[in-house]
C-alpha cells in the first residue's frame, strides 16, 4: 500500500487525529488560555530584533516570572498563561545566535557582522536579506556549507525539546514541542506551526525541505504512523495575498478531494487573530459587517508586499469557499476551528492591551519607538494589534487534553482578554436555558459544541443554538454576542451577521437590521474607561430564522466587549504624547468561537 492509499485507509477508519478516540463526555470542560505561537532568540528574525530570551526564558515568563525586555526595563504578566508552545522558525533555528559566537564557523560568514550589529536598522537589513535568501531557496549563498549550519539547527532543536519537557507541569502548566514551518513563496505568507502531542519529536521538516504544504502533511503523516501525533496550524493568512485559502493547491492545480481530506485532517484550527493582524474578515469582503474593521494589517513586513487579494486571505471567506467546494465536490478543505495567539518575537506574549510591549524586540519595544515608527521600513508596526489568546475547553490542563480539544476544534480565539464563551447547537434543547444550572451538560449530551458538526435535519426541523458569554473578571463588560452565518446555494456563497444578545435591553431595528451602539465610556486622554455600560454575562437561545434543511451552512459566535483604549492610546497617555491620528483610539476586544457546520451530503 502506498502512503496515499494508507492515509485514505486511516482516514476512513479513524476519523480522529489523536489516539484518544471516542471520548465524547466533556461535561466538565473548563476554559484554558494560552499562546501557541511564540518566538525566542532561536528564531533568525527575533535575533535581529535583539531578542536574547531563550525558550527556557519564554516558559518561565509564561508561568509568571518577570523578564528583561530587549528594549530595556522589566515586564511581567499580570496573570500567567495556562499553556504555551514556543514555535521558533525551523529555518536557521539557532543559527543567528551562533553567528554571534566567535568560536562558531558561522561567525565568519559575511552576513554575520551585520546580523550581530548593535544598530537595529543594520541587523533588520540583514534579516530582510536572510528572509529573501530563504524565500528564494538560496540559503547556501548566505550561510555557505550545509553541514555547518544544519548541526547548529539540530543542537537548537534538541534544546527546544528538552526545555519544553522540563517546564511541563501536568495539571498546572502545559508546554508543547513545536516549531514554525516558514513557507513564504514570493514573499507571501504560507506559514504554519507544527505542534506535537507527545514528549519527543523528530528534527523539523522545514520550508528549506519544501515550501509545499502537501509535503509537510506527508511528513506529519509519516510521523503519525510512528506514534508522533502533530497538528498543523496556519496563521497570518491576512499576509498570504490570497494564497492561504485559495481554490488551487501550491502547484497551481485545482484542489482535489484527496487534498481536501488531508488538509482538513491535519489542519484542524487556524489563528484568526494575533499581533500581525486579524484574519477573520476584511471590510472589503464583509461590507455590511460593522465590526469587520478590527486590527487589519495588509502590508507584509518581511517582503514589503502590499496585499491585493483579500479573498483567500481571511477565514470567514475560507469557510464560504469550503462550503462551495463541499457542495460541488463533497469535500471541504477549509473546515477550520479558531484560535488566537501572539506571534511575539521577544519570548514574551504581550496579551494585555494596557501592558503592551511590542512583538519585535527593540524595533517596537518601548512606547517612544513604537509611536515614532522608528523601524517601520517594510510595514507600519503601529497597525499591529496587541496579541491574541488561544482558548480551549478541556477537561484538564495536560498536553493530551489540550491537543485533543484542538483536534476536535473545541477552541476559540480572543483578542487578549479572557472572555468565556460557550456555543452549542442541537435539535433537542427544549427547556435548556444557557447559564442555568446543568445547561452545559445538556448542551453536550443533546447537541454538539463549537467545532462540531450537526447531523442532517429530519423533517426540516431547525436547530437551536445556545450561546453564553461572560466578561473577563479583569477586563471590560460585554457589548453583544453575534452569530455569523455563512452558507451556499448553487455554487454561490453568502454571509450574514445576527445580533443574538445585546446588553442594556437594546433591540435590533427591524428596518435597518442593526442594533444601536452600546456607547463609549473611554477617556482617550487618560486612557481609562468605565464599566458602566455593557453586561457581565450575555446569553441567548437562538434559531436561524432563514434555516433551510437542504442548504450547507456554518455558524460561529462572536462576543464583543464595550470600547476600551487601544494599546497605542495607553502608550500616548503613558508618555504624555499626542495620539497618532491614523490609529483608532479605542477598540472593541472580542472572542471568536470555532464554527459549527451543517453539512448536507451531496446527492449521488
Amino acid at each position: 500500500m502506498n502512503s496515499k492509499a494508507l492515509a485514505i485507509a486511516i482516514l476512513g477508519v479513524v476519523i480522529s487525529i489523536t489516539p484518544a478516540i471516542g471520548q465524547t463526555s466533556n461535561e466538565n470542560t473548563r476554559a484554558l488560555f494560552g499562546d501557541l505561537h511564540l518566538h525566542t532568540a532561536y528564531s533568525f528574525d527575533a535575533f535581529t530584533f535583539k531578542t536574547t530570551a531563550t525558550p527556557d526564558d519564554a516558559y518561565k515568563f509564561a508561568k509568571g516570572a518577570a523578564m528583561r525586555h530587549p528594549a530595556g526595563g522589566t515586564v511581567q504578566l499580570k496573570r500567567p498563561l495556562d499553556f504555551l508552545a514556543v514555535t521558533d522558525h525551523s529555518e536557521y533555528m539557532g543559527v543567528m545566535r551562533a553567528m554571534a559566537d566567535p568560536n562558531s564557523p558561522l561567525s565568519r560568514v559575511p552576513i554575520a557582522a551585520r546580523v550581530t550589529n548593535p544598530d537595529a536598522a543594520v541587523s533588520l537589513g540583514a534579516f530582510f536579506e536572510m528572509a529573501r535568501a530563504m524565500r528564494n531557496q538560496k540559503v547556501a549563498d548566505v550561510l555557505g556549507d550545509d553541514s555547518v549550519w544544519r548541526a547548529v539547527v539540530n543542537d537548537a532543536w534538541n534544546n527546544v525539546i528538552a526545555t519544553a519537557n522540563r517546564h511541563y507541569v501536568p495539571g498546572k502548566f502545559t508546554t508543547f514541542i513545536a516549531y514554525e514551518w516558514t513557507s513564504t513563496p514570493d514573499g507571501r505568507h504560507m506559514h504554519r506551526n507544527v505542534i506535537y502531542r507527545g514528549d519527543s519529536a523528530p528534527p523539523p521538516f522545514t520550508a528549506q525541505d519544501s515550501q509545499d504544504p502537501e509535503d509537510l502533511w506527508n511528513f506529519i503523516e509519516s510521523q503519525r504512523r510512528k506514534g508522533n501525533y502533530a497538528l498543523v496550524i496556519p496563521h497570518n493568512s491576512n499576509l498570504s495575498d490570497g494564497l492561504a485559502y485559495s481554490e488551487n493547491d501550491y502547484k497551481g492545480q485545482k484542489i482535489t478531494a484527496d487534498y481536501a481530506r488531508r488538509r482538513s485532517f491535519y489542519e484542524r484550527v487556524a489563528e484568526i487573530t494575533q499581533i500581525k493582524g486579524t484574519s477573520e474578515t476584511h471590510p472589503s469582503l464583509s461590507p455590511t459587517d460593522e465590526f469587520a474593521n478590527f486590527e487589519i494589517v495588509d502590508l507584509i513586513r518581511s517582503s514589503g508586499i502590499k496585499v491585493q487579494n483579500f479573498g483567500g486571505s481571511y477565514l470567514r471567506d475560507a469557510l464560504r469557499r469550503g462550503l462551495v467546494m463541499y457542495e460541488n465536490e463533497g469535500t471541504n478543505p477549509y473546515k477550520y476551528g479558531f484560535i488566537g495567539s501572539s506571534d511575539s518575537h521577544t519570548g514574551m506574549s504581550p496579551v494585555e492591551e494596557n501592558n503592551y510591549f511590542g512583538g519585535s524586540g527593540v524595533t517596537d519595544g518601548d512606547p517612544q519607538t513604537r509611536l515614532d515608527c522608528k523601524y517601520c521600513n517594510g510595514g507600519d508596526t503601529r497597525k499591529n494589534g496587541s496579541a491574541g489568546l488561544a482558548a480551549v475547553w478541556a477537561k484538564e490542563n495536560t498536553r493530551e487534553a489540550i491537543f485533543d480539544a484542538l483536534a476536535r476544534r473545541e477552541s476559540y480565539a480572543t483578542s487578549g482578554p479572557r472572555i468565556l464563551i460557550r456555543f452549542f447547537a442541537g435539535y433537542d434543547y427544549d427547556g435548556v436555558q444557557p447559564g442555568k444550572s446543568d445547561w452545559v451538560a445538556a448542551g453536550y449530551r443533546r447537541g454538539v459544541p463549537m467545532g462540531g458538526e450537526l447531523p442532517v435535519s429530519r423533517n426540516g426541523q431547525s436547530p437551536t443554538f445556545l450561546v453564553w458569554a461572560a466578561k473577563d473578571a479583569e477586563s471590560a463588560n460585554l457589548d453583544r454576542i453575534q452569530v455569523i452565518k455563512v452558507w451556499t446555494k448553487s455554487g454561490q456563497s453568502f454571509e450574514k451577521v445576527f445580533d443574538v444578545a445585546l446588553s442594556g435591553g437594546r433591540k435590533v431595528d427591524p428596518k435597518t437590521g442593526k442594533a444601536p451602539s452600546v456607547g463609549n465610556s473611554v477617556d482617550v486622554i487618560d486612557a481609562t474607561y468605565k464599566n458602566n455600560i455593557g453586561a457581565t454575562v450575555l446569553t441567548a437561545r437562538w434559531r436561524d430564522p432563514e434555516f433551510d434543511a437542504g442548504i450547507n451552512a456554518a455558524y460561529y459566535a462572536r462576543a464583543i466587549e464595550i470600547p476600551t483604549p487601544r494599546w497605542s492610546t495607553y502608550d500616548a497617555a503613558r508618555t504624555k504624547r499626542t495620539m497618532v491620528p491614523s490609529l483608532p483610539a479605542t477598540i472593541q476586544e472580542r472572542a471568536f468561537t470555532s464554527p459549527i457546520w451543517y453539512d448536507v451530503p451531496p446527492q449521488p
Binding site: R79, P118, N159, A473, E474, N532, T536, K576
Partner: protein, 305 residues
Amino acid sequence: MKAWLSQPLIRFLFIGALLFAVDAVRNPVRPIEDATIDVGPAQIDWMVGNWTAQFGRTPSKAELQTIIDTWIVDEMRYREALALKLDRDDEIVRRRLVQKHEFLFSPETVIKEPDEAALRTHFDANRDKFKSNWAVSFCHIYFEIGSDRQRAFQLAKSASERLAHRAADDGLVRTLGDEFPHNNCYKNETENNIRRDFGDHFTQALNQIEIANWVGPVESGLGFHIVWISGRNQPEQLEFDVARPNVRADWMDQQQSAALNVQLGRLRARYRPTVNEAAIMDALKRGDELGRKHAPDVERNRGED
C-alpha cells in the same frame, strides 16, 4: 584670586591653552594602526539590498555613491570614536555589550535527568520549599452589577444583613442573588484559579474574611458577593511522592543557576569592586531630589498632530 584672573597675560595664556586643547581633540595627531577602509562586494550588496527593501526599487548609481560615502564617513567617525574611548560610560553601548556578553556566555547546557537519589537528597535538604498551595473552600452569593451599580450594592448589602448569623445552608441562601458565570462553591481552590474567575481584588480579599459566617458585600471583577468561607488551608509540607515533579523542576532550576554562579564566580575572581558606603547613605537621603533631576522633561502636549 579674581584679580589674578583678570590679568590680560594670564587670560591670554588660558584662552590659548583652551584653544590648543580643543584643537588637540578636533585634530588628533595620532598614528592610525590600520587606515584602510574596504568597501567590498558583500558590503555593497547589503547596501543595495537594504535600500531596495526600504524603498521598493534599486538605488541609482548616484544614490548608491551617496550611501557608500556616508558609510565611509560613519566608519571613520566610528573608529575615531573608539580611539577616543567615546564608548566608555555610554549607557546605550554598555547595555548592548552587556546583553551580548550575557547572551553568548550564559551557560545553556542541556541538564541531565536527576536520578532518584539526587531527588531524595534535594527534597530532604529543601523541605520548606515543597508545600501544598494556599487553598480555600467557599460558597458565595452573586449580585450582578448590570446597569445600576449602587442598586446592586444595596441588594448585596441588605442580603448580607439578612444572612448574618445564619447557617451556610440556610433556606434563604437559595432565594438570593443572580446566576454566577462560574461556580457557586469552590473546594480547595488555588489562588490562580480564583483569580481567573473573580479577578485580583476578590482573591486578595478572601484572605481577610472571617471563617464560617456570611460576609459581604465583597467586590469582584464581575459584581458583588456575599461569601461563606468553610476553610482556608495554609500551605503544608508535602510527602516526597506528591512533591516529586516539583522537586525535579526545582533541582533542574538549581542546576542551571549553579552553572550560572560558576560563571559569575569566574568573572568575580577577575575583578575587585569597591563601593563607597558613605555615598550610599547620602544618596538614599536625597532620593526625591535626585529623582527630580532624572525625570524626563516632557511637555504635556495634546490635541495637536
